[in-house]
Structure formats: structure tokens, C-alpha cells
């Protein structure tokens, strides 16, 4: 009978449909989970950011300060010429927070001994890229603002 002869292709066609159904089901479970796992990105500050009074006092006291700038950590410090500078504080090697070493006028990462000059260029150690620079401006009223270098130029 023709039904029996066609039984096999029909079965494999149904298997194929079932396979697609199973894949679709898996995708409909996995996709929302993957989207759920990734957190929403934090809103980056649109323009320059002003240091608070507390941050200014700390900068005057310790000559360097690490602060948040959107999703960045930024190190603001006073170089030997008393100019303010700012760099991304996240080491380009493995993401530790760097620090300013005034005695050696270098930016140093304690995790894997990476060293950068005050412009963020790699001097020694394993970091593969320079630290991103931020523009710092001191207003006439003493307020200090920082902004990404690109936005300033």
C-alpha cells in the first residue's frame, strides 16, 4: 500500500519538524536567559564632571584621588609642576586600580608591577596599552572639572 511505502519519509519529515520545534523551544529559553544575564549599561555622564568639595579637599591633602566617571575609574593627580592631570585608573593589563607614586613620578599598578609615565604611556612591565587620558581644567573659582580627552579637543 502506498501509505506504508511512504511511511519512512513521512516519519523523517515529522522528525525534522520535531527537531525544529525542539530547537525553537531551546532558543526561546536560552535567548531571554542570555539577555537577562548581561546587565544594563550604566549611563555615562554626558559632559565634563565637577569634583565635589570633599574630593577637592582630598586632592589638596593627598595630591592624588581616584574617582568615578561614569563606568570609569579616573585618577586625578598633581604632577611635580603642580599641574593637574587625569588618567583612566584601570590598568590596561588586568584591570587593577593604579596609583600615583610622587617620589618616582610614575603611575604604578601593584598587581603585576606595571609602570606608566604621567601621560599614561607604558614605561615597564606587562601592560599592553597606555592609560586613556582625561582633560582636567581648573576654573578661576577653584573648581576642577574632568572630561574625556576627545570631548575637550
Amino acid at each position: 500500500m502506498p501509505e506504508i511505502a511512504e511511511g519512512k519519509p513521512r516519519r523523517s519529515f515529522l522528525d525534522l519538524l520535531l527537531g525544529f520545534g525542539a530547537l525553537g523551544f531551546l532558543a526561546s529559553v536560552i535567548y531571554p536567559v542570555l539577555r537577562y544575564l548581561k546587565p544594563l549599561s550604566a549611563a555615562a555622564p554626558g559632559g565634563p564632571m565637577k569634583l565635589t568639595q570633599e574630593e577637592l579637599a582630598r586632592l589638596a591633602r593627598e595630591h592624588s584621588l581616584i574617582m568615578r566617571f561614569g563606568s570609569h575609574r579616573v585618577i586625578v593627580f598633581e604632577d611635580p609642576q603642580q599641574r593637574l592631570r587625569a588618567l583612566d585608573a584601570r590598568c590596561t593589563h588586568e584591570g587593577c586600580t593604579v596609583q600615583y607614586v610622587p617620589g618616582e613620578t610614575v603611575i604604578w599598578c601593584a598587581c603585576h608591577n606595571g609602570r606608566f609615565d604621567l601621560d599614561g604611556r607604558v614605561l615597564a612591565g606587562p601592560p599592553p596599552r597606555p592609560l586613556a587620558r582625561f582633560a582636567v581644567a581648573r576654573e578661576t573659582d577653584g573648581a576642577v572639572t574632568i572630561a574625556p580627552e576627545k570631548a575637550e579637543s
Binding site: L37, K38, P39, S41, A42, I66, M67, R68, S71, R73, I75, A89, R90, H93, E94, G95, C96, T97, V98, Q99, C109, A110, C111, H112, N113, V122, G125, P126, P127, P128, R129
Partner: protein
Amino acid sequence: MSAFGWLDRRYGLSPLVEFMRHKEVPVGKHSLFWYYLGGTTLFFFGVQVATGALLLLYYQAGEQTSYESIRYLTTKVPFGWLVRSMHCWSAHLMIVSLILHMFSTAMLKAYRPPRELTWVTGFVLLTLALGFGFSGYLLPWNELAFFATAVGTDSVKAVPGIGDWLLQVLRGGPDVSINTLHRFFGLHVVVLPLLTVGVVGAHLLMIQRQGMALPVGAEQPRRGMRFFPDFFLRDVLLWLLCLILLAILAVFLPYGPGVPGVEWELGKKANPLAPAYPGIKPEWYFLWVYQLLKEFPPHFLGMEGPQAALLLVTVLLGCWAALPWIDRRAQRDQPSPLISDAGAAAAVFLAFLTLKAWDIGGGAAHGGQPDPNLVARACSFWTLGLTALATAVRALRFGHRHFAFTAATALQIALHGLAGLSYLAAGGIALLALLPAVALQSRARPEAKP
């Protein structure tokens, strides 16, 4: 009616009891000691579950509560310090036991057919154990934990294609924050334990079905030791000794031995805006990766240094997981002395990097930076000395005759530590010297015992 009879009639327990009654451990010329190490690892895992459950009664995950609740637990709660100390010590001892178990299994070539999947599930358990260590480290939310997690999670960005996505998923944001702690807490107390119980179950089931492996070439002994009660009682005795050791360590050294990577003083609370402090180190079993990250230059073979370092780590671990398929001789139940030697060389490789990560001999215990050349020299003396000793024992006691991998690793250490070459240049030269030696030796028929 006995309780057993009641259950037996309903669930047919008799075949299971019969199976356990006839279960035997093969007794031959080989030492039985290595058969106990899986059990001790399981014992320490049991301690982790029990002490972990107790810690959960007081621990509160949160920016204002994680650090504070651990401080309250260790300073105010009766015996809180003991529970935490047991949990930490047992975690380290579990990793020690697991590593010994894994190395002894590798040396006995117990991974050869038909036990390949037992080896692979064991490898998965190693990664789960490392995941437990890594995720648990962050939970007290102190300074040390914060940077160890910053470095550890940052390394996933090296994964091609999905690195950034993975980093964000792991951290719950672009940076390590309290969101990371919540994710790690979930992993540490729910996801990893469930996975571990499942994989341990599979691992044990495979061992029950296949029995203990014999060394390569050993004849199946006519009689073995009965598992119940003879072997099991020995197991329990060893667990008791482990518990005593754990209790002594937990009571007398409640914050660890004070060695970097083996300490759990609470220290300062994590401050995401504080710089990393000098001498920061991950836990001891990650030190070799930490040191490797330091040894790689900013760029290597067209990759960024950290990416190249982590690729090397992945390849090495991948080879280790695939050992049952790499070791062709063991597949045919023949001795594979080159693989045994590669295992010994792996231990030398790990030991040197770990010692170096501890800055041994750098002359800067307090303040200041250790001198990398002095560290390399001191560590190479120690490692070469220990390697010479271990090689003599292997040659005299176990009749080993193949040392190409160990010799190449020793050559790298000598060139780096004593001749002052960079670690990678020394490694390149050692690799070039190794290739012809391995080609020659793998052609020759192995005459030595594995």
C-alpha cells in the same frame, strides 16, 4: 518485621546490598594509599557543605552588610571564628587533596580505557573546585578579595569574540561592584554546589561500575580487599585523621598560616576607589597563572601579553583534560614513560612559578619592591635542587629512565634564573632542545616502568 525487610520488599534493596558485599579493592604490589585521596577530597567537600550552611545563618550579602556580617561572625558569634576558620582551612585542604588525587591518578595512568570519562569528570570537578575558591574569595568584601576578583574576572576579556559579554555577565557590570558579589554569592551557594553534587555523583557511579584501576601492566589479583567493611573502615579512619588535622589548624591558625595566598584575615573593607596595594596575591593555586601574567611582555606573537598568557594556560589545561586520548601507549596498556615525565615536568613548572610569585629571596619582605633578578635566582636554586632530588628518587626508587621534559623545564629555569635570560626566551630555547629529544625517545621502545 525488620525495617530493612520492609524497605527491601518495596524497593528491592537486596541486589544493591549483594553488590556492596562483593565489592573489592584490588590488592597488588602497588601502594593502596593513592586510592584513599578521592575519599579525603569528598570528606573535605562534606565539611565545606556543613560549615558553609552554618556560615549562611549569619552572612548577609550586600554593600553595607557583607564585610560587617563576617566581622560580626568572627568577633561576636560564639565559635563563629571556628566555623569560618574550618570553612577556609577545609577549602584549602580540599584543593590539596584534589591535586594529590589528580596527580596520583595521572601517574598510575588510571585514566586509560575504559576510565576516560572518570578522568574528564574529575577534571570538571577540579574546575568546579577552583570556581568555588574564586567565588568564595570575594564574599567577605574586603580589599584583598576585591582586587583578586578584579584581576581574575578581567582575564575573561581575553576570550575571543564573547570576552566583553562574558566580563559583564560575570561582574554584573563593567567593573567589580556589589553586583559582582551578588552574582558570585549565587554561584557559590547554589549553582556550583548543585553542579558539584551532580558531577561527583557521576564520578562515583563510574568508579562503582568499573572498580579501582590497576597500574599499567599489573595483573588482575586473584583476591582483593573487601570494600565493606575493610577498605571503608580505613577510609573512615583517614577521614578522622583529616578532621583532627583540620581542627588543629583551624584552632591554632584561625586566619591561615599568614603566607600570601593562604591567609584570610578580614583586613580592610573593599573600596572600589582605592588603588591596589603592594604585595597583593591571589590564592596559592592561582599563583602560577598570576606569575605567568607577569612574565609575558605587553605583546607576544601578535597578541596582547595577557591574552597570550591565558591562551597558554588554556592549552595546558586542555592537554591535561585530554590526557586519556593523548597517551596512546597507556591506551594499549603499555608503559608511557614520556607522559610520566611530562607530569613530573608539569609539577616542576608549577612549583617554579608559584615560588616566584611569592617573591622568595627578593630581599623585600617589608616595604619596597623585591628585586626580580634575585627572586628568579633564589627560586631557580630551590626548584632545581628539589627537581634533582625528585629525579634521583624517580630513577633509583621507581626505575624511571626518561627525563626529557623534566630536563627541558630545568634548562628553562636555569637559563632564566642563573643566566639571566627572560622567562619566555629561556622557555623558547628549552622547547627547541626538547623537540629532538622527545622525537628520539618516542621512537625508542620504552624499557622503563611508567
